[in-house]
Structures are given as C-alpha cells and as structure tokens.
C-alpha cells in the first residue's frame, strides 16, 4: 500500500484538525485547517485515502513543506 506524505502549503498554525487517524477520506476532503496570513487554509487529501498518521496537533505551528499527515492510498 502506497503511503503518501501530505505537506503544509503554507507557514502558519494548526487551527483545527478535521480528520482522525484511520478515517477514510474522499478525494478533496479536508484533513485539517491551518491559520496563515489571517486566513483559514485547508490541507486537502487531493486523491482521498485513509489517514495513517497525523503528525501535528491543534495549536502547533507548521512550516511550509512540513509533513503534517500521512495517508495510505
């Protein structure tokens, strides 16, 4: 099973985590929402998949390019 690393597109902080580990996501589903540049920016599972691991918690700050979740395809 291919594992896909999901990276943060922006530097900011984790505002809200919407998916939980083990959850199966549809293509385009929101994994978590980051707060950056005063906007709520979603981290999206473009192809869908099962959440294998969430690497950050709410309130944590993240850098652009940081792996925030791992999905299993």
């Amino acid at each position: 099973m291919a594992r896909l690393k999901i990276k943060a597109e922006v530097t900011g902080s984790v505002w809200k985590i919407e998916a939980r580990a083990g959850q199966k996501l549809e293509p385009g589903a929101t994994i978590m929402i980051l707060e950056s540049m005063k906007m709520e920016i979603p981290v999206v599972a473009e192809d869908g998949g099962t959440v294998a691991e969430l690497h950050v918690a709410e309130g944590e700050s993240v850098n652009e390019g940081q792996v925030v979740a791992t999905l299993a395809e």
């Binding site: 597109e9 922006v10 950056s36 540049m37 005063k38 709520e40 920016i41 979603p42």
Partner: protein, 512 residues
C-alpha cells in the same frame, strides 16, 4: 499469374510485414497489459478510414540486418482527420527497437512537422521512445551522420498546435516533443525523462526509481510537464482530441465555434453562494469558473501544479476562451513562482492561437519571504506581467474579492486587461488592511485606535471608490457575470484581423 496479380501479391505481403510491427509476441504482451499499440492508438485518434500513412515501407538502413526487422523504422506517421479536421500524426512504435531514433524515422518526423507547419495542421505526438538508437549513433561518424542535420528540429514558433501524449517509457525524442508541445497528457505508469533509469544509475552510481525520476506525480505536481494525467491510453487520446477541439488548426485562424450545451448558465442564479461571507474563509474558484462558462466545457490544465493559480480552456457562448484564475483554496490565493509560471504558459498558449482570456481575480498578493525569493519569484512575476501585457487577444478580468499589490497588475488591473469588472464584494488596495495599519500607523491589533484605523482602511478598499476613478469599467452583480462576459467578448472581437492576434510570444519557451 498476371502482372497485376504479381504486383498485388507483393504489395499485400509487404503491407502485412509493415503492419506486423515488432511481432505477435511483443504485441500480445502489450495487449495483456491493457496498453494499445501504435496503430491502435492512431485508430482511436483518427476518424474511421481517414488515416493515410506516410512512410509505411520505410525501414532502418544503417545496418543491413535491420532492414527486415524495423517496420516503419519504429515510428508510424501520416495524416488523419481528428473530429473532421486534418492533422499530422506521429505514433511511436515501441515494439520496433524501442522506437529509438534512427536516420529514416528522423526524416519521417521532419516531414510530418514540415507539412503540418506549411499547411496549417495540428501535430499530434503519441510518445514512447527509448532515445537514440545504438549503435547507430556511436562514434564521431554516427554523431555526424545522425544528429544535427535539421537545425530547426526543436524550434517552436507555434504556427500550429502541438498535442502530445506520454504513454510509456519516454526518453530522448518523445520526451523532447512532449515538453515542446502545447499540451501533454500523461498516462499513469508512463515515465518521462531525459534518459533511462539504467543510464541514470550508471551516471550517478545509485539506484534510480523510474516513477520517482519521471513518473506522473513528479510531472503533474513538481515540473508541470503533464498538463493532464489519465489512467489509460484511450483516455489520453480522448484528452488530445478534446484539447484540439478548442484550438484553431493554425495561428492564422480563429478557434472553432461549438454549439452551446443546454443548461449553460444555470448556475448563475446562485453563484454568490460559492463565495464565503467571511473574507478569512476560502473556496474553490473552479466552481465559479464552471458556473460561468458553457456547461461541462472547462478543460483544466496543470491542475496539480502551482495550484494557487488555475488555468484551462473553456467555451463561452460556444466560443473558445482561456481561463486564468487565483484559487483561494490553495495558500489563500497568494501567488507563488509555480503559479506565475503556469499562468504565463496559459497566456502564451492563448495568445499564440487567438483565444481570448478571462481572468478571475481573488488574491491577497504574491507569496513573500525567503523561499519565494529562492524560487526566483521576482523573475516569474515579471514574466507573467510581460506576457499578459504582450497578449494581443481580448482580455477580460473580473475581480471577485481581493486584488492587492503588484498582483493587481498581474491579474489584469491597471490596463493590463481590456475590461475590468468587479463584483460588489471586491476589495482593492496595496496590502491587506491589517498590515497597512501596522505599516502606516505602527499599530498592532488590540492597540488603542487600531479598530478605527482598520475600519477606515477597509472602507478605502471598497469597490465603489474603485469604480469612481474608473479603474473598474463595470461593477456587476455576480449573477450577471456570464452575460456580461459574453457581451464584452462580442464588443472586443478582433474584427480588424478576423479574430487573429499578433502572436508576440510565439517563440516563448514551452517550459521555463
């Protein structure tokens, strides 16, 4: 046997040999893998019975032994009609010496491109090739004989559209034509690279994973060389047909006009609902685009590359348009280097083939910071700026929400489009009001007077001030957007030149 019968017998026997490609075993292996062969691909592309082969009896001649085992010299070429319109086609036949580049097939490709260019036909490349044929290219005599005898081989002046599919292992020839084309669709499982993983491993002395080196994810997400990604050969060829349906056959004619599908514009009544009420929330601008253009006509390009920007072809009232948009869904719409490059390539494509441009604007500006500078953001921003200004096709922009800073100019503001329209939700200024309060008044959120200063900045960004100075030629209700754009396209039709623009960017590189 009569003379005629003898002639027919020889002809038939030679035809069978040519059509046999690399032999039944190789063809059966492809079939078992669900992959079409070169001739099946052409059949899928061209209208039934319309394909006329060029060079059916051509073979390799470099080595006497190759004459009998290189039907078509590994590249099937000819002319066929694609949805009724004449096109020149090159289908690589990987079953014959890996469709490697040889002296005869080099002449076949050159002839196809010459005819396409001189007679105004789109050129289609169905790619899959192992690169330079060995040992033909070896040694100084091999090099001198095979390479560089056609100096214009890899020059694009965009006289006619080029559409490519990357359908298998592509090294050398197929890779070059895929990246030189105006459109490249990649089938999952295919590899597009300069050279094979084997050779790469030898050169850098480490294991090279073919998918990592040249697979669809790399080209869809990182390089942008794949305009679309599909699962099967059939879908790839259908994507080429769809792409060509938006384009003229050559640069001196306007794009074809299609019938307007029933149901077009029915999303307009509720279009405002697609825009969140809060300015801090994001949305997918592609839903706005799909609502405005003719039903199901949005043909997105490079969907996974530079996602802050959205590009594609579509039809508006049956006429081909190019779409460039900011997508707040990604990075809040803050434009980065990849997005600039992607938008620039769409502007160049549209300008080269007389396709009017629609701009949908919602951007807080360009991404700034160390990473942006390292990615050469200033150069990319200016490339987009020059391309948009040089584009001589009609350009119509609609500001949906934010338009800030230099990005205002890059997205059609300040006379960089022919008409600027704004929704009442538009806000235009140099920087986000909250940052402006900090820069102008030195105040942080929570400081006394901050809220009043912010309210004043907000008011000054409103659409009505913008309309008062005639920087927007129109403020439109969101639900009028489609009708407004159809009417403005009519107003701005290139009447003086029969719909043909100046193509100032015809020599712009296809990737940069």
């Amino acid at each position: 046997m009569s003379r005629r019968e003898k002639m027919d017998a020889e002809f038939a026997a030679r035809e069978v040999e040519a059509r046999a490609m690399g032999g039944p075993e190789k063809l059966a292996r492809r079939r078992a893998a669900g992959v079409l062969n070169a001739r099946e691909r052409i059949e899928r592309l061209c209208d039934p019975g319309s394909f006329v082969e060029s060079g059916m009896f051509a073979t390799s001649t470099s080595n006497p032994a190759d004459r009998d085992r290189t039907p078509g010299d590994g590249k099937v070429t000819g002319f066929g009609r694609v949805d009724g319109r004449e096109a020149a086609v090159l289908a690589n036949d990987f079953t014959v010496m890996g469709a490697s580049s040889g002296s005869t097939n080099g002449r076949k490709i050159a002839h196809m491109k010459r005819v396409a260019t001189q007679r105004g036909l789109p050129m289609v490349f169905l790619g899959e090739s192992s690169g330079a044929r060995m040992p033909d290219h070896m040694g100084s005599r091999g090099m001198g004989t095979l390479l560089g005898n056609d100096g214009t081989q890899y020059v694009r002046l965009r006289e006619t559209p080029w559409a490519a599919a990357t359908l298998g292992l592509s090294y050398g020839s197929s890779t070059w034509y895929s990246v030189l084309s105006d459109f490249n669709v990649m089938r999952k499982g295919a590899v597009l690279a300069v050279s094979s993983p084997l050779l790469a491993s030898l050169a850098i002395k480490e294991e090279v994973d073919p998918q990592e080196m040249g697979g669809w994810r790399l080209h869809a997400e990182v390089t942008g060389f794949a305009d679309q990604v599909v699962d099967t050969d059939e879908q790839a060829i259908d994507a080429i047909k769809a792409f060509l349906s938006y384009l003229p056959s050559h640069h001196n004619e306007a794009p074809p006009v299609a019938a307007v599908p029933a149901g077009s514009g029915e999303g307009m009544r509720d279009i405002l609902a697609l825009l969140p009420e809060s300015r801090t929330r994001v949305y997918d601008v592609r839903n706005v685009v799909r609502a405005v253009v003719d039903k199901d006509s949005f043909f997105e390009l490079k969907a996974r590359f530079g996602k802050v920007g959205v590009t594609g072809l579509a039809r508006l009232d049956g006429r081909t348009v190019g779409v460039i948009a900011n997508n707040p869904l990604s990075r809040g719409g803050a434009m980065d280097a990849d997005a600039c490059e992607k938008l620039t390539s769409c502007v160049v494509l549209c300008d080269s083939f007389n396709i009017p441009l629609l701009l949908f604007v919602d951007t807080p500006g360009f991404v700034i910071g160390t990473e942006a500078e390292r990615r050469r953001a200033p150069g990319k921003i200016m490339n987009l700026m020059s391309a948009l200004q040089m584009a001589s096709v009609p350009k119509l922009s609609v500001i949906l929400r934010k338009s800030y800073g230099q990005a205002y100019l890059n997205m059609g503001g300040g006379r960089n489009s022919d008409e600027v329209a704004a929704w009442p939700t538009a806000e235009v200024s140099f920087m986000d009001p909250a940052f402006a309060v900090k820069v102008v008044h030195g105040m942080d959120p929570g400081a006394p007077g901050f809220d009043e200063a912010l309210a004043e900045m907000d008011r000054a960004s409103s659409v009505w001030d913008f309309a008062q100075v005639y920087a927007a030629q129109a403020v439109i209700r969101p639900q009028q957007t489609r009708d407004y754009l159809i009417r403005m396209l009519e107003v701005h039709r290139l009447r003086l030149t029969n719909g043909v623009g100046q193509h100032l960017m015809r020599a712009w590189p296809t990737s940069f």
